[in-house]
Point group: C2
Amino acid sequence: MSTTNLRNSVIFPIGERLESKNFNGSAWLKMLAPSGSACPIGNVTFEPGCRNSWHKHAGGQILLVTGGRGYYQEWGKPAQELHAGDVVDIPADMKHWHGAAKDSWFVHLAVEVNPEKGPATWLEPVSDEDYNKLK
Amino acid sequence: MSTTNLRNSVIFPIGERLESKNFNGSAWLKMLAPSGSACPIGNVTFEPGCRNSWHKHAGGQILLVTGGRGYYQEWGKPAQELHAGDVVDIPADMKHWHGAAKDSWFVHLAVEVNPEKGPATWLEPVSDEDYNKLK
């Protein structure tokens, strides 16, 4: 699936390719409400197989899934499969990751909660061994 | 268009019919993050012709349009037509209304900004005369 096809299948703008060591593979980010505002909102698009590293948000985050198939996993729990229409309320300081399934693009809005509490803390990557167990 | 058809055309759950004198016609609300939380998020669905009354948010609000065709208007300015993928950043204390076009359902996420600043203040309805000028 090309990014052109993807662009036709989702709602909000795809934005720019993220250049980040905290993502395994290609992802795109369009801020819909800016960082530094009272309520930053990003539209995040992951190519198949792409996920972010384990991380924590000081104030929490809400994911609103708008397309594709992917996962959210909290440390010590099984990964949870996500589809369009799913909502994830990520508690403050919860170690977690999110990203696409191996065979699907994945798109979600990410709403930063209590941004004044500080930035995300990035930790180790999700291992291929753990990721490859997911279906 | 029945609500069953609509349900198949949008992403997030439609929720319950709003019983509110502040909406002209039928609208539905599903809270995706609850009122009283740090970042309340509602999915709001308007039937064709339905709009809310003029109102203000003490902390502001962000609209993320996921489907249909509708309008946002600030007091003293022309109404702005909205479609899926549009984002509206409503400043705190800005008198405004939003709702569907005459011939289209309209669906948006509504993110409450700075909810600790207080609730919305509801004002007069949008007159039929003003609404009927819109195309």
